[in-house]
């Protein structure tokens, strides 16, 4: 039954660009301000206003397009997409319709079957809508809504994938990789919970004997889901719902559905009769956008190293694939990692410490590597103490926790707590000799072949050095001294 249909998923991702100002006016582009405090005649859609394009938004959008392997069109234009809604002040959204900024890119995902490219059909620029605060729990029960236009006019890019994903897991992977790539460009906050990254999923089931065009399949669009997990849940629910409908002989209708977090289900938002006719036409207020080769070259040169390149260089430095993936997926963690590695060249040691102890502390305190509690320099000094043999791993862990809590340097903590692994050969040998001299019976046991007796003697030496002696050194010296008794 399950394999009567192929799941076909396409994703439309909206990403807010992190410019200083909005796309078509000089209002600040900021999140969480007082209602309507970041508005002007232009973004309020007052009579007589005109849009003027923000050049920086074009630059950021172009970098995203290049990083996603798209062809950036040297000629693109803006169009009006028309519909009435209170969060859309002009009752049209300035967007790009038939000549978008960029086309034909891809995102590489790693599936069980190996690497696979998911095509990107297009990337276009458009302005965001404002926000509605419903006077009631949900839109459906609200007696009215309050309109805040701070977000109206914030620059967005819309990244439209090809319908080339076939499972909720693939959709999730595409989103994770997409976000990872964009995170290195530093063009957006990419926070789904704050709406700076939003995802709509188009889901359809293709009967295996269906030979027509994919565009003819009835497609259900799940709108504005607020987390990657919910995108996956929404798609899963939708696949099951559609499969059940098909199996019971019902027709799937093209519609838009919302996702309900609590129940994990989708619900119909707009029926077929309400299908929009957006009446797109070229925006007469904005001349076409023509990008020169020189300008495009500058944008290409402004691109940082991107995840695929980073994965390769991490592998070359001996970082395990799993670890490399964790590093790459958090741009702040990766940047922190590279700063530490620049100071302590043992990439594996740095990776181990970062991904285990330090990450545990950061996570336990709900911190992001955007603002690391212990500076890269601080961590590097700590790790140098380990490589120099001054601190044991166990001691270093303690020092790190203290550094984390008090903000002291590694050196300061070591000094204050009197922690330091005794590596002085002569100093330890003196103690070893004393311990051997003080325990003749145990020495006799060892000499007569009881290996366990050595453990006791090691313990005694460690006790006298307050645990600061390097255990393998103690071991070696004990054997050296005991050899003279044989």
């Amino acid at each position: 039954m399950t394999n009567q249909y192929e799941v076909v998923i396409g994703l439309e991702v909206h990403v807010e660009l992190k410019t200083q100002t909005k796309l078509f006016c000089g209002c600040a582009n900021g999140f969480g301000q007082d209602p309507n405090s970041q508005t002007c005649p232009v973004c309020l859609g007052m009579p007589g206003v005109l849009p003027v394009l923000n050049g920086e938004a074009v630059a950021l959008a172009t970098r995203a397009a290049l990083a996603l392997h798209c062809t950036v069109n040297s000629y693109s234009k803006f169009d009006r997409k028309q519909y009435f809604y209170p969060d859309l002040p002009k009752a049209y959204q300035i967007s790009q319709y038939d000549q978008p900024l960029a086309e034909n890119g891809h995102v590489t995902i790693h599936t069980a079957a190996g690497k696979r490219n998911i095509g990107i059909e297009r990337i276009h620029m458009e302005e965001d809508a404002g926000k509605l605060n419903h006077l009631g729990q949900r839109l459906g029960d609200a007696e009215g809504s309050l309109v805040d236009l701070n977000r109206a006019g914030v620059p967005l890019i819309e990244i439209v994938s090809r319908p080339e994903m076939h499972s909720p897991e693939e959709a999730r992977q595409y989103l994770v990789e997409l976000r990872t790539i964009l995170s290195y460009l530093d063009i957006s906050d990419l926070r789904m919970e704050e709406g700076s990254m939003r995802c709509d999923a188009n889901v359809s089931l293709r009967p295996l004997d269906f030979t027509g065009s994919l565009a003819d399949l009835p497609r259900v669009e799940i709108k504005n889901v607020n987390s990657f997990r919910n995108v996956q849940r929404g798609i899963e629910f939708e696949i099951n719902r559609q499969r059940q409908m098909l199996q019971t002989g019902q027709r799937i209708i093209k519609e838009t559905r919302g996702f309900d977090d609590a129940s994990g289900s989708t619900y119909s938002q707009r029926s077929k009769e309400e299908a929009n006719d957006y009446r797109y036409f070229p925006e007469p207020d904005l001349p076409p956008l023509v990008l020169t080769e020189k300008w495009l070259k500058e944008q290409r040169e402004a691109l940082p190293q991107l995840p695929d390149e980073l994965r390769q260089s991490l592998a070359e430095r001996g970082v395990a694939e799993r670890d490399a993936e964790v590093l790459v997926q958090d741009v702040n963690l990766y940047h922190y990692w590279s700063q530490v590695v620049a100071l302590v060249s043992d990439a594996r040691l740095v990776t181990n410490w970062l991904l285990s102890d330090y990450s545990r502390l950061m996570n336990a305190n709900n911190l992001s590597f955007a603002e690391p509690k212990v500076s890269a320099h601080g961590l590097a000094s700590l790790l140098s103490l380990i490589t120099a043999g001054t601190l044991s791993g166990k001691m270093a862990k303690e020092v790190l926790e203290t550094m984390f809590d008090t903000g002291e340097t590694a050196e300061a903590v070591v000094k204050r707590l009197g922690l330091s692994q005794i590596t002085d050969h002569n100093a330890i040998k003196e103690i070893v000799s004393a311990v051997v001299a003080a325990n003749p019976a145990v020495v006799q046991d060892f000499v007569s072949g009881k290996e366990k007796a050595l453990t006791f003697l090691v313990g005694q030496v460690m006790k006298q050095t307050k645990g600061q002696a390097k255990p393998d050194l103690v071991n070696a010296l004990l054997r050296e001294v005991l050899a003279t008794y044989a």
Binding site: P41, L44, G45, M46, P47, G48, V49, L50, P51, V52, L53, R80, Q82, F84, P86, P89, K90, A91, Y92, V147, D277, R279, Y280, F281, P284, D285, L286, P287
Partner: protein
């Protein structure tokens, strides 16, 4: 002659020289408005207190040197009510904007005030500039000062009537398909629509964005020049604003015989009122007598201009007028839910002609019709522009009648919108092609004015103004209506 008979240049010169105070000029204008506006109804709003306060401030606080740098010092000016002003209401002649107060000024308003002009009020217009008669205002009709039973033309009918009736020497209008030139012709004043992009549209309430241009109406060519010189500036707030050579402050009257002037056969065919034709022919004779080479030319796609215009303009208008939804400003009519609030507000807020054009434009853009209508029109627009490009290889300027007939009676074209649309037949072409066009009064017939239209290549305003100025010099001085005022 009183100050109300002066043109803007003379007024400014007198104020600059201290021969007269700005307050006296404004008072004279206000008293003329008091006297004639109740009948003509050119103004929707007059702010006498503000105008006088600004004039007195100029008189008391500005030195002679400062005033000398204000090219429109003390000149009373009227602004068409589709240009937004912070200190006065702006309605665009529509009920949907009743009570609206703009939080910003249109760029042209700022530029005029910086030049010393005193804005006395806002003028009546066809609602959202959709009309050719100023009968389609939510606030009553404007009457033609030459014959109060006739229309002043539109949509800038209030501005044209105010200038003709000498309430003000200067007014701004806007022109999408002839809305400056047609009322200028019907009211016997000068009016110019500049090259598209010459004057910032920031603060002009959009009708059809790719066609709209602001321009002055006045009683002399030199007033048009001086005003355009001031307002034809690049504006960073309008992405379609051109950064072009400036227009001369005063036209240099060209030797007319050095110009090659084209007469397009399509503009002199049937359908022109014989009385209009007589006056036009007489003027052409004068030009010939002055040694002008009048060259017959053809603009073959002229017959498609109105059809093209009535797809492009309503389509853009349907989009531009979507923002009037009762949410952020203007009229709101309650409804049970959002969509009914929208529908009730727009149903009550817009007049019948505006609704007709919204329906037409929405249809032209709707799914399945876009290619046949809107796209087709944009292509024909290319052909119309090419006609002009070809013509201007052979001639320097083109001359035509501004409009085929004389001002019609109020109410006469109410029943048939198509009939009204055809009024614009000689003026829409320059909007579609983005060219400058000027209407010049050339005489009266049966007591009603006739206008002649000059058309030039893109950015050739100086050439157009110079030619008009030269013609102005060889024609008898124009007359002005309502010499005794209205009792």
């Amino acid at each position: 002659m009183g100050t109300i008979d002066w043109d803007a240049v003379q007024t400014a010169d007198q104020v600059q020289r201290g021969e007269i105070s700005a307050a006296e000029c404004v008072e004279a204008a206000l008293s003329r408005i008091d006297n004639t506006n109740p009948t003509v109804h050119a103004f929707l709003h007059v702010d006498a207190d503000r105008a006088l306060a600004r004039a007195r401030f100029m008189d008391h606080n500005l030195t002679r040197e400062t005033k000398a740098n204000l090219p429109l010092a003390g000149v009373p000016v009227a602004i068409k009510d589709n240009m937004v002003t912070t200190d006065m209401p702006t309605t665009a002649g529509s009920k949907i904007l009743e009570g609206f107060r703009s939080p910003y000024n249109a760029t042209v308003v700022e530029l005029l005030e910086q030049a010393g002009a005193i804005i006395v009020g806002k003028t009546n217009m066809d609602e959202f500039a959709m009309g050719s008669s100023t009968e389609h205002s939510a606030y009553g009709v404007t009457r033609n000062p030459w014959d109060l039973t006739r229309v002043p033309g539109g949509s800038s009918g209030g501005s044209a009537a105010a200038v003709a009736a000498r309430m003000v020497p200067l007014a701004l209008g806007s022109d999408t398909g002839g809305s400056i030139r047609l009322p200028a012709s019907y009211c016997g004043v000068f009016g110019i629509k500049p090259t598209y992009g010459r004057v910032s549209r920031y603060g002009l309430i959009a009708y059809a964005s790719s066609l709209d241009q602001i321009g002055p109406l006045a009683r002399s060519v030199r007033d048009l020049s001086r005003t355009l010189h001031l307002i034809a500036r690049h504006d960073a707030k309008d992405a379609t604003s051109l950064d072009a050579n400036t227009i001369l402050e005063a036209p240099i009257p060209t030797a007319l015989q050095s110009l090659r002037i084209g007469l397009p056969e399509e503009y002199f065919g049937e359908g022109i009122d014989v009385r209009v034709r007589t006056v036009i022919e007489k003027t052409l004779d004068r030009l010939r007598e002055s040694g002008v080479d009048l060259i017959p030319i053809s603009l073959p796609h002229t017959r498609y201009a109105i059809a093209t215009y009535y797809l492009i303009a309503p389509a853009e208008a349907s989009s531009n007028l979507s923002r009037y939804d009762g949410v952020r400003y203007g009229l709101r009519v309650v409804g049970d839910d959002l969509i009914h609030m929208y529908q009730n507000t727009r149903q009550e807020g817009f007049g019948p002609e505006v609704k007709r054009r919204i329906l037409l434009g929405t249809h032209a853009l709707s799914a399945g019709y876009y290619d046949a209508y809107y796209l087709k029109a944009q292509k024909v627009r290319t052909l119309i522009r090419q006609d002009f490009d070809n013509a201007f290889e052979k001639v320097d300027l083109i001359v035509t009648p501004t409009v085929a007939d004389l001002p019609f009676k109020l109410g006469e074209r109410d029943l048939d919108p198509l009939q009204m649309y055809l009024t614009d037949i000689f003026t829409v072409t320059t909007n579609l092609a983005g060219l400058p066009g000027l209407s010049q009064p050339i005489g009266l017939v049966d007591g009603l004015p006739v206008g002649l239209q000059w058309m030039g290549p893109p950015l050739a305003e100086d050439r157009v103004l110079s030619a008009a100025s030269a013609l102005e010099a060889i024609l008898p001085s124009p007359e002005w209506p309502l010499s005794g005022g209205i009792q």
